[in-house]
Point group: C2
Chain length 187, copies 2
Amino acid sequence: MIESPLMFSHFLLRQCVREGDVVVDGTTGHGHDTVLMAELVGSEGQVLGFDIQAEAIESTRARVTAAGLESRVTLYQESHEHAVSRLAEGQQIGAVQFNLGYLPGGDKGVVTQGSSTLRCLEGLLPRLRKGGMAIFVIYHGHTGGPEERDALLAFAAGLDQKVYTVLRYDMLNWRNDPPFLIAIEKR
Amino acid sequence: MIESPLMFSHFLLRQCVREGDVVVDGTTGHGHDTVLMAELVGSEGQVLGFDIQAEAIESTRARVTAAGLESRVTLYQESHEHAVSRLAEGQQIGAVQFNLGYLPGGDKGVVTQGSSTLRCLEGLLPRLRKGGMAIFVIYHGHTGGPEERDALLAFAAGLDQKVYTVLRYDMLNWRNDPPFLIAIEKR
């Protein structure tokens, strides 16, 4: 079965995250991806989760705690923009995951911004280990969504193919600005 | 690891083809996909393979025979355009696979044509069973390649999302007209 972009992002996370990895959830939202990443990194791994909304951080903390995974997760109520500064010097990461857009069920006036996403990505890309991935599920139907999408597409398309593989995974016949996936793998 | 479009087409074939299926290889080329499909359909299944070039049919027949799978494969040295007429009345299929472009190592003047590919697809789409897929790996760097690509993209993008899911899987940062994948799944 052809997986949705969101389900395919989970498939890719399962492929690239290894036990013991440090990984970043750039937009924890309600914590679904945070929990998956915490399961994948194992008891020796660590998830750093970012969200600017208190509601998202609380929702994520509750979900992570219910799963008994709180020792593997550190949450920051701040922009992912400076995520790299929360990593130890020289620390490599196995994955960074983003759901770009707004918090489902939350304030639609609070959306991710292309500029902060790109700064986060520019900081974290050099930290990806070989086989590690930056994965984006991009919702772009809201105000500012097309600009964020286009900035990310232009950046990703310009990456050196000798260093990174950039996949686009999208549904051609879905209507109404469907979400799609971009994955950047360190070769 | 992010798979190439060709490798991802094999991943999708493994997902959608079931034992006992009838399937179609629309462009046998050197028979690599034909052999994979013959393995997947099992001893009760059947692969119908099409190629207009004698060289391709011979190459495929040799590969299929070497794999001991000749009882599962019927080869036709003719255009896939009328593939549907080679199916029994009302026969459903699990998959149809195409590598669009020219035969690797063969005559670059002999290429698939968008019009024949679309006629083949229009004939076979109604025969896909639920969960079955039409899978295209599209090479489009040759003369006529962009036109074939664009005709297929336009057709696929227009399919009703209640009936079909259409995936595009492509590498954004590869240079020089890289191949990409389109998959159409019957929902």
